[in-house]
């Protein structure tokens, strides 16, 4: 079985989620080839060859791929597809954008956002915003798959793959890049952050949210809040995490002074790791927290900030 994995990157850094997609490929089993398509992306190629478990890195380094235009990338991938049974990409901006085009060009179905592999043709994926989990079998001979990175653990980076430079270029010529506006704030966007620290009613007032800032800085985290904190006027409602606020799934979610009502859980239950800090040991949040600390947050927060360096 041979598998082609598309590397997600921004021409300077290889996204670590790609390592998790390779893990998914390994779960399927077979020879894995990585594709790096971009422009002036040598640092990405250098990182790519180190990925454990891949045989080759195909490189398509050309201006037409600089901005990962879907119309161009999909032609490249579908051109290469004849050599592979599985074509996989990470379910991030680029992968989500172009992969269905590949599936359509190959006249096969796509299986989006898989979080588990049962066999080479059967996969597990979330539906209804993760409120149900579907087990789906592909009946096509070629499988086009996008991988939700949180479902897999990254492979190691101590490999040494061979580089193969591709000599053809695919330019659909129907789209062009105008500009990028990347967010430059110190804090990541709540919806996209991989670490979030949220305050609840236990924070007692809006000023006390400052206690979360030092920790957020050290962890590169976004700051969120429970609906109770928003309703009480502590913080504005664009910080609200929950059923009627933002739905988040970071690697780490730290809930400070939050009781854990189901409406809040609905917004963060898919976090990889949940930490709860609350002085009420009966607070429902402890039923879902991987690590719970029953203590007064006003004692804990300064200590926590100091311990992180």
């Amino acid at each position: 079985m041979s598998i082609l994995v598309f590397a997600e990157h921004d021409n300077s850094t290889l996204k670590t989620e790609t390592l998790k997609t390779v893990a998914a490929a390994q779960a399927i089993g077979g020879d894995i080839t990585l594709l790096v398509a971009g422009f002036n992306c040598q640092s990405v190629i250098d990182a790519a060859v180190k990925i454990n478990g891949i045989g080759k890195v195909l490189v398509a380094d050309n201006p037409v791929y600089e901005h990962q235009l879907a119309e161009n990338i999909c032609l490249l991938v579908s051109e290469l597809a004849s050599d592979y049974e599985h074509i996989m990409a990470t379910a991030l901006s680029t992968g989500k954008n172009f992969m269905p085009r590949v599936a359509a060009l190959l006249d096969v179905a796509q299986i989006s956002d898989i979080i588990g592999v049962e066999s080479s043709d059967t996969f597990i994926r979330p539906i209804y915003a993760g409120n149900a989990i579907a087990t789906v079998q592909s009946l096509d001979s070629k499988k086009v798959i996008t991988v939700r990175a949180t479902g897999f653990d990254a492979v190691a980076t101590d490999g040494n793959a061979e580089i193969v430079t591709l000599d053809f270029v695919t330019d659909a010529g129907i789209s062009s890049h105008v500009s990028d506006q990347l967010t430059e704030s110190e804090r990541p966007d709540l919806g996209a952050a991989s670490v979030i620290i949220s305050g609840g009613r236990g924070m007692q007032n809006g000023d006390n949210f400052k206690l979360l800032e030092g920790i957020a800085d050290k962890l590169g985290a976004a700051i969120g809040a429970s609906r109770a904190a928003v309703d009480a006027g502590f913080v504005p409602n664009d910080m609200q995490v929950g059923q009627t606020g933002k739905i988040v799934a970071p690697d780490l979610y730290i809930a400070v002074g939050i009781s854990g009502a189901i409406q809040h859980l609905a917004g963060m239950k898919d976090s990889k790791v949940i930490v709860a800090i609350n002085k009420d040991e009966d607070a429902p949040i402890f039923q879902v927290a991987d690590y719970g600390l029953v203590a007064d947050l006003f004692d804990v927060l300064p200590e926590f900030e100091a311990a992180l360096s």
Binding site: P100, A103, A104, I133, D140, S175, V178, Y291, A307
Partner: protein, 250 residues
């Protein structure tokens, strides 16, 4: 310029999903259905383009059984001009939907096709892109802003880490994201007018498309319930566990 908007009938976003006891699928019996929120945003955007004088006609299409006429009427009440229901009892995959829509596109010849980025039931996020590929069209997915200019469309889209603006030649397919617009409320007079706007029904079987399924749904389960983890005694213990055990901080 004619705009084609595709809409899907899905479970209302307020309804809590329940898996059937036999794990065959989600229980949709008597649950409230509605127009997919992203599709509704697409309808709103098309209507705004018409109000600006850029579009001359907004045609809305849905693929499904007779029940989806309710959502088509909602779209008409929001301002679409006419509706097409491609009638089928089967639940179709994105590839089949894209093939059927290709037939509709060949018939209607729209300059712009607006679609929701994904449906909140299957969460596939594929149909728009597939449709673009089958027709050789440019695509702008996850649009948060769009502007028509001299036969092209400039679209600003949401990507990891920020926004990206692309210029696409028409015809193009745009899939909408949440921040593109906030749909209007349908007013009572418009709801009543919508009942008299044209709604054509076409059988999917008559369109000459291979609709065979390429995937098989083996089972649907409720997500694993999170279990309580461990209680730590001190902050130091917490930090140590997060660093060495969970490996979520450095």
């Amino acid at each position: 310029m004619k705009i084609l908007v595709t809409i899907k009938r899905v479970i209302d976003f307020n309804v809590k999903v329940r898996v059937k006891p036999d794990n065959s699928n989600v229980d949709l019996a008597n649950v409230k259905m509605a127009i997919n929120p992203f599709c509704e945003i697409a309808v709103e955007e098309a209507v705004r383009l018409k109000e600006k004088g850029i579009a001359s006609e907004v045609v809305v299409v849905s693929i499904g059984d007779k029940a989806c006429q309710e959502q088509l009427r909602t779209a008409l009440a929001l301002g679409a001009d006419r509706a097409i229901q491609v009638d089928t009892e089967e639940v179709l995959e994105p590839l089949s939907i894209a093939k059927l829509l290709t037939k509709v596109i060949k018939e209607e010849q729209p300059s712009l096709i607006l679609m929701g980025k994904q449906a909140i039931d299957e969460d596939n996020n594929q149909t728009g892109q597939m449709l673009a590929a089958l027709n050789g069209f440019a695509q702008g997915t996850f649009a948060s802003k769009l502007e028509i200019e001299d036969g092209n469309v400039n679209i600003t889209r949401e990507i990891d880490g920020g926004l990206q603006t692309l210029k696409l030649t028409l015809p193009a397919i745009i899939t909408t994201d949440l921040r593109l617009n906030e749909p209007r409320y349908a007013s009572l007079p418009n709801i009543m007018k919508a009942k008299r706007k044209p709604l054509a029904v076409q059988a999917a079987a008559d369109l000459g498309v291979d609709l065979s399924a390429r995937t098989k749904l083996l089972k649907v389960t409720a997500p694993a319930e999170r279990q309580a983890g461990i209680v730590v005694e001190t902050v130091d213990e917490l930090v140590q566990k997060l660093r060495n055990e969970a490996k979520v901080i450095s």
